[in-house]
Symmetry: C2
Amino acid sequence: MDSETQSFETLISNNLSGRDLEEFNRIYFGRRDNHEVRVKESSAAAAREANFEIAAYAFPAKKEHTRPPRIVKVGIIQHSIPAPTDLPINDQKTAILEKVKKIIDVAGQEGVNILCFQELWNMPFAFCTREKQPWCEFAESAEEGQTTRFLRELAVKYAMVIVSSILERDEAHADILWNTAVVISDTGNVIGKHRKNHIPRVGDFNESNYYMEGNTGHPVFATRYGKIAINICFGRHHPLNWMMFGLNGADIVFNPSATIAADAGSEYMWNIEARNAAITNCYFTAAINRVGYEQFPNEFTSADGQPAHKDLGLFYGSSYFCGPDGVRCPGLSRNKDGLLIGVLDLNQNRQIRDRRCYYMTQRLPMYVESLSKVVELDYKPQVVHEKDGK
Amino acid sequence: MDSETQSFETLISNNLSGRDLEEFNRIYFGRRDNHEVRVKESSAAAAREANFEIAAYAFPAKKEHTRPPRIVKVGIIQHSIPAPTDLPINDQKTAILEKVKKIIDVAGQEGVNILCFQELWNMPFAFCTREKQPWCEFAESAEEGQTTRFLRELAVKYAMVIVSSILERDEAHADILWNTAVVISDTGNVIGKHRKNHIPRVGDFNESNYYMEGNTGHPVFATRYGKIAINICFGRHHPLNWMMFGLNGADIVFNPSATIAADAGSEYMWNIEARNAAITNCYFTAAINRVGYEQFPNEFTSADGQPAHKDLGLFYGSSYFCGPDGVRCPGLSRNKDGLLIGVLDLNQNRQIRDRRCYYMTQRLPMYVESLSKVVELDYKPQVVHEKDGK
């Protein structure tokens, strides 16, 4: 783990300086100055003590004549699992909750308004194993489970909206499982939940063996601090998933993920997809990935001809925010727990949308008509052959 | 112009080496080795002589049991305008054709199968002026105009499919104008044409004063070398435009563009959008931008409070290819003409689509239903308020 590159950003800052670094920042991040925001000394000290990274960046908007600024502090947390996966399920979960509580406390002290964790943050990402036991025992009621109860208390304490991605046990519907994001209000109430719309079938991501495509549509949650939505992990490859959240009015779309750096992994796409979504929909996105290695008791295979093994390889962290103009901030590290804070002026969304007109020019009625034809079983693609054009 | 950064890639290669450079390449481009392909010495010499850059990169696929490789050589050309914009229209156009012919000849000698230019390659990008005369005189018949005739000859000579983005004069429909890509077969026939679907209304891009949204749908052109489509410039901000070309079966989608580096420009998004399209649709994309400065006779304003001026700022070139897995090659420079060649094995598209299942998991029928509701005038967004969730 020590031999791992710390982050893409350190590759650059260790080697570039002066005008080259400015040009890199302009072309890569979209701005020469990252608008770093200082955190409290007590927060920095707590982060050192608990061995996690902390950083904050601002995304300002222009002043408007008719609206005050709508500044919201958003926190995202990436963390590794602290306990071995052969401990009893409850012990594993408690260890995670205890560890992450230290980061939540710092977020609370920094005045974070909305907080989101990585995908299935309260458990190891055990779907690589294809084993149903004991992993399914991590599942909980979205409304009344241990994790939601734990977070309700913190949400009230810090007047914080919390987005918690868990394995849901749907007790009202014959105990089936879902991959679900629970949105907890600053009042401690569950505002609602969203179930993952797109489920992977690739490599070690055997999630389709555990739960089905979500049945909750594309809800946007009206919180005290802004309208938010959650595009869970694999949904980031699906532009229509992102778009429906935008059309429903989301100011910020979180992408809690679990994705790996392995050879057939996603690391080089991590900067692309949540950013493209921000650009095309003119809203803020927050991309959050797990971090570290997770070792499982039994061997599994990855359907790639390689020998059986017991871990998925590195979850590369690198969580970041992107503005509605596509400008992003530096990400967290590839191999360490972290809290990243974005100070977002949500007024920027409409300013960019008015300027660029991407939604206004999207010609939705044309696409409704085209896609209605595509889904017909006898669809004939629009292909032009040479004889037609002569 | 000499003070301009030569390219994003040179910022890196001038400063990083060894393992840091490898890690940069892995995380940024998606592969440690760029698979550079050597061009002929005669091509390199011709490029030096005519002062343009030339580079080639391979995008291999795995061997299959049931299909031979489908390797196609694709060329993209970026170029600046060689003549002042106050010359007679015909002289300006002839100067461009003569200049670019030297690059086409090299592409032909390199065995390029499919060639595409930047947007409206045979004229300056004069829409910033909002002046109708003399710029509308650059318009031509797609089938019979000077530029198409010029290219037909070269297409036959080099057995090359050529995609030519021009200002079209639609003589069969009352002489109106379109922004049109003409696809010329290796036989010299015009296979067909596609008209730009999404027209910008932002900053200096006053194109909506000149032509309307295209009426040709999302055609894919079945050429001898593969199925191709063209997403013209501003359409790259529209994921549904990219998607319809994919659903119609495109192997390669070209994005001929004209876009600038200015403060409110697009340079930091250039690596994002054509790449995201390649990823989400599992096809090859080729992003092509104009290069250089274009000075106009009369002042114009940019609706940004800045003083009137006579040029748009730098068109930053940086043209590149991206594979269906999201792996890209280094781009051409920011300030020089260039020919970039991609040696693409089109078999990779289906291999990636089978592996990642993005189309299989895209749930189109759900989105047809959702979007059908969105386009209704009385659409009620799916917003969850706290009271609902208690």
